[in-house]
Subunit: 469 residues, 2 copies
C-alpha cells in the first residue's frame, strides 16, 4: 500500500461517512500535504485516484470538490449500535422462508437467479444423462477432484492462484459460511459484519453462539474501514465477515484498494476474514472484481461461495478456500454433513470445463444489468419522491430505503394481499433495524410483471406515506 | 413399566455386567421376592421373560441358571474410563476417510450397503427420468412434503405416530445428528454415549465443543443402564446419544423393554435422548424393532436416520424427528446448509410410495443375514481360536476382538499391503481404546472375495499372534 493509496482511502472514508457532503470543497493540496506529512505530489496522486472513481471533481482555479453522487438518492450510510450483540430476527426469517406464496403473486423476496435461461440447457441435459450409479457410494469428503480442479481455473479470474487441495466442496454457500464461522471461532467470540447483512450469515453467527458487531457501511463502497478500525481497537473481535463483491442486500462492490486495505487491517490486528463471494461471478464489471482472497499471502482469508446465484440454488454446490484453516474446516465439514452428492458436482465441473458456464454468466450479466435499469426506472416512476435506492454493480437484488415513518413489516402484509412479495429490512439487521427498508429481486420476472409489481407496491406505499404539507 | 419388567431389567444387567457368569446359579425365587419386596409371581414372571430371551435357563428342581451365551465368543463388555472426556482420534478417522484404496483391494472398512441389488433399479431409473428443472430453486427448508409424508408411513413400523410437520429432512444422518447435538446442548456440556461408538457422532461431539462420557456397553444388549444411572448421578449429563438398533460397530439391538427403561431413565433425570436409527430398517427381525422414539410421550427423543444404509449413502437423504426441539432443530438445520436438494427426495418418496423400498429392504435383510453367517464361519475357520466376534442381528457390519496384545493400527498397515482394508478399533473410542478390535463389512463383496479376504486377514493376524506355550 503506497502513501497516496493510504491517503485516498482516508479521504474516501471521510466522504463516505458524510464529513464532506456532495458539492463541498475539499482541503487544498498544500494543506493536506502538511497535515499528513506527505509530499504535494502524493496528495495530487490521491486526488487523481478519487477523481477516477468519480468521487471528487477538480474545478479549475478553485481546487477539489466532492462530486454530486453517481446516483443522487443512494440509501444512507448505516449507523448500527456500536457494540457486539446477539442476533435476533429468526422468527421473521423463518416466516419469510416458510411463506407459501400465491402462485399468481410476483415474488420479489427471493434471491434466486433466472433459471429459465437457455444457456443453462447443456447443464440440465447433462444432469439427467449421468449414470446414477456413479453417485451411490461415499466419496471424497472434500468433494470431487474434477470440480475442485475447475474451481481453481475459475478462481484465476478473481486474482487467486489455488490448488485443488486448497478447496473443500460444501452444500451451498450457507454450509460454507457456517463451517468457516465454526472453524475460526470459539463460542462467545465477536464477529464484525457489514450492516445490513445477509440474514443467513447472521443466523449462522447466532447458531454458533457468537456475537455480531455491526459496522457502519456505505451503500456504494461497503464497510467503513475507519469504523471497523475503531471497533477493532475497542473489542476483541475474532473475525471479519464480509460480502464485498455485489453485496447482499445492497449490491455495492468494495473498490479493489479498499479490499486490500481491509486485508492489511486484518493482518495488523491478526484476525481472520471470511469472504462471501457468492455473487462475484455475476458482477457487471469485466473482468470480474478481485476478491480479498486474492491479496491473501498468509492464509487468513476463508473464501466462501456457491453456484446458487450464478447457476441455481437447488444444485446445492458450494465451496470453501479455507487458507490456513484447511484441517479445521475439513473436520467441521465432515461432521456437518459428511460428503456432498457427487452427481451435481460432476455436472457442474463439466459445464465449466466445456465453456458453458462462462457463456451462461456472460449472458446473465447482460440481462441483469438491463433488468436493474428497468427496475430503477420503475421505482423512480412509481415510488414516492423521497425513496432512496441502491445502485448494484452486479447481482440481481437491490435495496430500497423509504421514508423513515414507513414500517416495511406492516407494508409487507398489505403488499402480500396485493400479490407482491419482498424481503423486509429487519431481516438484514442483527437487532431488527431497517424497518423502513426492503430488498427487491429483479432476476426472474418478465419486465411487464416487474413493472406491474412496482406500480402496485408504489400504490400501497403511497397509502402509508405520511401526509406532506 | 411393571414390577416384573423392572426386576427383569435389573437381573439382565447383573448378568450382562458379569456379576453372574454363564452357568452360574441365580438367586432363588423366594430370595429375590424378599430382597425386592415383590411377590413370588412377579419374580417368576421376570425369570420367564429372561428365559424367553435365552438369557437364563430353568433347570428342573434346581432353579434358574445363566445360559451359556447364544454365541460363546462375544466381545467383552466394554469398560471405558468413567469420566467425561474430549474426543480425540480425528487424524485416524481422516486417514481412513482419505484412503485411496487399490482398486483390486477388498474393502471391508466402509459401512456401505450393497448398491448393486436389482431391487434398486426402479429408484435409479427414476432419478434420471426426473425433469431437472423441478430441482433448481430454493424449496422448503424442512424438505419436500412428499418425502416427509412417506417417512411418516414408514415410521409406523417402528412404533411411531408422526405427522409430516414433525420431520426435518437433512443431508444424511451425519447432518441429522450434528444438528440435534447442537440443538440440545450448550458448549461444554456432557453427552453420554455407548462404547464403542460410531466415529462420526463422536467427532460431531468434538466439533460442537462437548465432552463424551463413554458408558460400559454389552455386546449383545447395548448400553448398561446401571452404569448409565451411576453416571447420571455423578455428572451433569445433558443428553444420551445411542444407536440402539443394529448398533454401529457392534450390531446388537437393545431389547424393547430395555429401550423403554432407557426412556424412563431419561425422563427421571429430565434429559434428552438422541437416537440414531440408521440401520433400523435392515434389522433381521420382522417386524423391525421398535425405536426408543416409539415410547416418547413428551418429545424428549430426537430420532435421526437416513437412507444411507438401506439404499445408498450417495443419495444424502436423511431426517430428524425432533420432538419438542423442532424449532431449534429447524433453525440449526437452516444455518447448517439451508435446504436439501429436491430431486433425490422426490425419487426416494416415490420409491417408498410404490412399494419398491419395502421390497428392497426385504431382500437386503435376507442377503445380509446370509452374508453374516458366511462371514462368521470364515472368521471361525481362519482367525485365531481366541478371537471374539459380535453377532449382529441386523446391518452389514460386525466387530472383532482379537487377543489383547494385537495392535489393529499396525495390523491395518500390514493388511493394506495384502489388499484388505478394515476399520480399526480406536476410531470407535473417544480416547483411542479398542486397539485390539476392528470392524468388518459384509455387504458388498462376493462370498468368494470375502472368504479370500478373511483368509488373508487371518494369515496376517497369525503373524501378530503372541506365541502360545
Ligand atoms: C450473500 C449470501 N451468502 C450465502 C447465501 C446462501 O447461499 P446458498 O444457497 O448457496 O447456500 C446467500 C443466499 O441467499 C447469499 O445471498
Ligand atoms: C450409526 C451411524 N450414524 C450415522 C452415519 C452417517 O450416515 P450418513 O451417511 O447418512 O450421513 C453412519 C454412517 O456410517 C452410521 O453408521
Amino acid at each position: 500500500m503506497t502513501l497516496y493509496e493510504n491517503l485516498a482511502i482516508r479521504l474516501r472514508e471521510h466522504i463516505e461517512l458524510g464529513f464532506y457532503k456532495p458539492g463541498d470543497k475539499l482541503p487544498s493540496v498544500r494543506q493536506l500535504a502538511k497535515e499528513h506529512g506527505v509530499s504535494i505530489s502524493t496528495v495530487q496522486e490521491a486526488y487523481r485516484q478519487l477523481e477516477q472513481e468519480l468521487l471528487v471533481e477538480a474545478r479549475p482555479k478553485s481546487g477539489y470538490f466532492v462530486s454530486a453522487q453517481k446516483q443522487d438518492n443512494l440509501p444512507s450510510i448505516s449507523r448500527p449500535p456500536q457494540r457486539p450483540l446477539e442476533v435476533s430476527q429468526w422468527e421473521e426469517v423463518l416466516n419469510m422462508l416458510m411463506i407459501r406464496s400465491r402462485t399468481d403473486a410476483v415474488q420479489l423476496q427471493h434471491a434466486m437467479p433466472d433459471m429459465k435461461a437457455p444457456t443453462l440447457k447443456p447443464l440440465l441435459k447433462d444432469l439427467t444423462k449421468q449414470d446414477p450409479e456413479i453417485g451411490l457410494g461415499y466419496s471424497d469428503i472434500r468433494g470431487t477432484e474434477e470440480l475442485r480442479t475447475q474451481l481453481c481455473r475459475l478462481a484465476v479470474a478473481s486474482g487467486c492462484q489455488l490448488h485443488p487441495d486448497d478447496l473443500v466442496i460444501t452444500s451451498g454457500c450457507q454450509e460454507a459460511l457456517s463451517v468457516c464461522l465454526r472453524a475460526v471461532t470459539e463460542p462467545g467470540d465477536i464477529i464484525a459484519i457489514e450492516s445490513p447483512s445477509f440474514y443467513g450469515s447472521m443466523q449462522a453467527i447466532k447458531a454458533a453462539n457468537l456475537k455480531a458487531m455491526e459496522i457502519p457501511t456505505h451503500p456504494g463502497t461497503g464497510i467503513s474501514l475507519e469504523a471497523l478500525e475503531l471497533a477493532l481497537d475497542q473489542w476483541p473481535i475474532k473475525a471479519i465477515f464480509v460480502t464485498p463483491t455485489c453485496n447482499n442486500p445492497i449490491g455495492y462492490t468494495m473498490p479493489e484498494d479498499k479490499k486490500e486495505q481491509l486485508y492489511r487491517l486484518a493482518q495488523s490486528y491478526d484476525i481472520t476474514i471470511i469472504e462471501d463471494d457468492i455473487y462475484g461471478d455475476i458482477s457487471f464489471q469485466f473482468p470480474r472484481p478481485k476478491t480479498i482472497k486474492s491479496f491473501d499471502t498468509d492464509g487468513r482469508v476463508l473464501l466462501c461461495s456457491s453456484f446458487s446465484k450464478s447457476i441455481a440454488p437447488g444444485m446445492r454446490v458450494g465451496w470453501i478456500a479455507p487458507g490456513r484453516y484447511r484441517d479445521k474446516v475439513t473436520h467441521i465439514k465432515y461432521v456437518s454433513s459428511s460428503m456432498c452428492p457427487v452427481m451435481p458436482q460432476l455436472a457442474v465441473a463439466k459445464f465449466i470445463r466445456l465453456g458453458g458456464y462462462a457463456k451462461h454468466i456472460r449472458q446473465m450479466r447482460q440481462n441483469y444489468e438491463k433488468q436493474r435499469d428497468q427496475l430503477l426506472k420503475a421505482i423512480k416512476t412509481y415510488f414516492p419522491k423521497d425513496t432512496r435506492v441502491s445502485f448494484p454493480d452486479g447481482s440481481f437484488i437491490l435495496w430500497v430505503e423509504l421514508n423513515q415513518h414507513i414500517d416495511s413489516m406492516k407494508l409487507m402484509k398489505k403488499c402480500r394481499e396485493h400479490g407482491v412479495g419482498f424481503a423486509p429490512g429487519p431481516l438484514f439487521s442483527a437487532t431488527g433495524k431497517y424497518r423502513n427498508c426492503f430488498r427487491l429481486n429483479y432476476s426472474e420476472q418478465s419486465s411487464e410483471k416487474r413493472e406491474w409489481a412496482i406500480k402496485s407496491l408504489g400504490e400501497v406505499i403511497n397509502t402509508f406515506q405520511p401526509q406532506e404539507s
